[in-house]
Symmetry: C2
Subunit: 494 residues, 2 copies
């Protein structure tokens, strides 16, 4: 029996997708349950999986099957599958094996040196290896770009279709409005924070309650603790992690809601796309739109925080604030801070645009790594209004660049912008949304997101799925900025 090239291609790809799930789960295992003494062996195991996956992605048969199928009459889903496979095949073949191996080796070393340098607040100790990472990523970008923009080539790994020019225009629109609002808000007195005690076990029980309230399916997922919260896996085995800090339960709760946004996206993809290139979130930006809208526009809304307030009082007793309005203010407190991952909705994107401009300059060669710390600190003071006291609170705070993630940061802001657009459309479609949220009922909202965005997986291109969800309106920063100005204007009596 002879199969069609399409059937052969999709059968081969199914096995590749299954192997990619296995490799991803190794990552989950490493961050949650792996015995610490097996790090080196695990490195060999991960490398072996990567080697198998790389061999499959570059396999010449893929090229033959693709050539035989492309241009023929295909269903929408099959055409989308081919588009993804083509992209991955071309990308894998463009990068010389020696360069890929050197990048893997150097970023592995760089990550360790970054951790050491951060612990010692010593950027100079990290600069040499970072220079080498930048150099290798420039070379990779040249191989990928084939004469086009280097930064675009890198960003496309995380957000297909994104361009530096579009991103820059988006940030140009956002920056003045956010800088101005930040200035006004920080002149006002800071709201009161939480008080009380929040034992670890109680936090995890509450986090599970929140996850279930947002529709996370524990029969096809897990919640564990890890140093850094993350979501992992696709289809019917999607695992999230969170962390606890006895004095800061919001860290645990909102990390959980955030990761539930990522996890639910994966869990809610059409089951027919399981183990196909459509069976996972389509881009980092769209992924982040789901985590952010769960965490912020829904989870930090006045309506939903009212419900959280009642639930927390019932479980933890005195929590240091004694009415739902003060609780809402505490959840959304804007503070002078330096760390991106702990930033509020108002300041978060200022952190990203700083990184975007700096990493673009690094890749283009306009900024040299030895000058990075000074450039960071100057820009931070301009946007935030206060100085960075040490490198661990500045340019050494994020792991991303050490592992070669250039072009990744802007997808966080893209996610926020998409979330702003989706929230506007969702509120237009669901006028009674707040009544449900006030009861702790997210199903109207999560059902809307599942139907409009999540179930499609990789069927549409990133911008396309957001546009369709928003009734044909192309995404822009406007809705997010309007939402932030209204929310924080109300909260801070501006």
């Amino acid at each position: 029996m002879t199969n069609t090239p399409l059937a052969d291609l999709l059968a081969y790809q199914k096995e590749t997708e299954a192997l990619a799930q296995v490799a991803g789960r190794l990552g989950w295992d490493q961050e949650t349950v792996m015995p610490r003494g097996s790090a080196e062996q695990r490195g060999e195991e991960m490398a072996a999986m990567e080697s198998v996956l790389h061999a499959r992605r570059t396999d010449a048969r893929l090229g033959e099957w693709l050539a035989a199928c492309e241009g023929s009459e295909l269903s929408q889903a099959d055409a989308a599958k081919l588009r993804h496979i083509r992209r991955s095949h071309d990308r894998a073949r463009k990068v010389p094996a020696a360069l890929a191996a050197e990048l893997a080796r150097v970023t592995s070393v760089a990550q360790g040196q970054w951790a050491e340098a951060r612990a010692k607040d010593d950027f100079a100790a990290f600069a040499p290896v970072l220079s080498r990472v930048v150099e290798l990523r420039q070379q990779e970008a040249e191989a990928l770009a084939e004469g086009g923009d280097l930064y675009d080539a890198l960003a496309n790994d995380y957000e297909p279709g994104a361009t530096a020019a579009e991103l820059a225009a988006m940030f140009d629109e956002m920056r003045p409005r956010l800088v101005e609002l930040r200035g006004k808000v920080l002149e006002k007195p800071a709201p009161k924070g939480l008080g009380g005690t929040f034992p670890d076990e109680g936090q995890m029980a509450f986090a599970t309650k929140l996850a279930l309230a947002f529709g996370y399916d524990l029969s096809r997922g897990r919640i564990d603790k890890a140093v850094h919260p993350f979501s992992s896996g696709s289809g019917n085995d999607v695992r999230i992690t969170t962390r606890t800090n006895p004095e800061d339960p919001f860290n645990c709760f909102y990390s959980t809601i955030h990761e539930v946004g990522h996890g639910s996206y994966e869990q809610n993809i059409d089951q027919g796309y399981l183990l196909t290139p459509l069976g996972q979130g389509v881009s980092m930006g769209v992924h982040e739109s789901q985590s952010r809208i769960y965490e912020n526009q829904l989870g930090r809304s006045r309506a939903f925080t009212g419900w959280i307030y009642d639930q927390m009082r019932a479980q933890f007793g005195d929590i240091g604030v004694d009415n739902a309005d003060d609780f809402y203010a505490a959840v959304n407190r804007v503070q002078k801070d330096f760390i991106r991952t702990e930033a509020d909705e108002l300041q978060y994107n200022l952190h990203i645009m700083l990184r975007f401009d700096l990493e673009r300059a690094l890749i283009s060669g306009d900024l040299k790594v030895p000058d990075l710390e000074t450039a960071w600190n100057e820009r931070f003071e301009a946007d935030f209004g206060y100085a960075v006291p040490r490198a661990s609170l500045g340019c050494l705070q994020d792991v991303h660049w050490s592992v070669g993630l250039f072009g990744y940061f802007p997808t966080y802001s893209l996610g926020n912008v998409y979330a702003g657009c989706l929230a506007k459309a969702l509120r237009a479609d669901l006028p009674d949304l707040d009544e449900a949220l006030a009861q702790g009922d997210t199903t109207p909202a999560t059902g809307w997101l599942r139907d409009k965005v999540q179930r499609h997986g990789g069927l549409y291109e990133p911008k396309e799925v957001i546009t369709l969800a928003c009734g044909g309106e192309a995404p822009s920063a406007g809705p997010l900025l309007d939402y932030i100005e209204t929310k924080f204007g109300d909260l801070y009596d501006l």
Copy 2:
């Protein structure tokens, strides 16, 4: 740069070993932490890993490299590595892909039907699919045996070099002495069992203490709960599981010690063999010798149970027996029972020889599956002296045959026999052993086993490593039988 065929072969094999570790860990994950809703997806992932491993094991380059190396001057370790790779390569190439796929499919179905049939005590419902499993394994055995004995071919998967004839002779020596001793012991009054309460968490804490007492390295391993205790992984990521039953703490404690025996064997293999064919236990029989000697000859000794008694009293308070001699008798209580996995040292091997004779007859065709239940029940009554009341306590109790494991059962007895030989040699080398065990100190014994057996991994053939450990004496059932007769003779005043 051109590598030698040996270097190419070993580099390729290292990647295969790493992938095999990954596949094994998927199994651990499935039995401990996998969300129940992802069983089907997991099946696809496991199949994809198996397909990758099968492709590597049958890769024509392996044959070329092996041919180029075999016969040349090699170190002892390299020669052993080649022997293992040759065995695995030949085995994988002998079995037609269609037969392997059909076996995977049918045994997957059969396992489900076995579980259902066992729940309903209905052997007839299971017989048709078991017949098909037997048929397929017969075909596989024919492909593997190339004219030799079919049962030998199957047993060699688990115990290289084992033959049905040798195993039959071993059981012939054991059976009369064990049957006679069982009869005498069961005429005596049964010792008192434990009483008291043993909460799950306390049992797990105690199990961890026992694991550490036996030298299990938690920096390179884990202990989790699972429905059936098992050990998984090699090298620096070796995980064991146990289970708790509030009324029967011995089940948890001795399962733990047993699995620690398996796990320690893997952990203690020479680190230079990591991710080579020598980097794992050499056979099921030698593996079981380690788990059994930890569990029985050490863990159930009068000396060590004295220490356990004190520790249990300290942790659990009143445990229903009030002196160490009665505790020793309770640990080693011989009871009328039907279940292999719960059998005491005296009766355990009677369970195995029954299965060995029956499965040999099934594979040779002398026994037909529809007649299996009757044959089982007749043989059981002859050896144990009482009748099997229902199939779940008889021929439906074990999962093995449903998943095609024919030739596996005798490795349990082989392990007991090897443990008997090792215990004799160990006691001869360590005259003060009991003094250490009485203090909860297993290091003289576990150090001896590490040095004589465990560190060698796959360097020697199974019988060879036992013979070397025993100072040149070839393994036989005598030492085990002598040990059992002395121990239970003393315990039951015979």
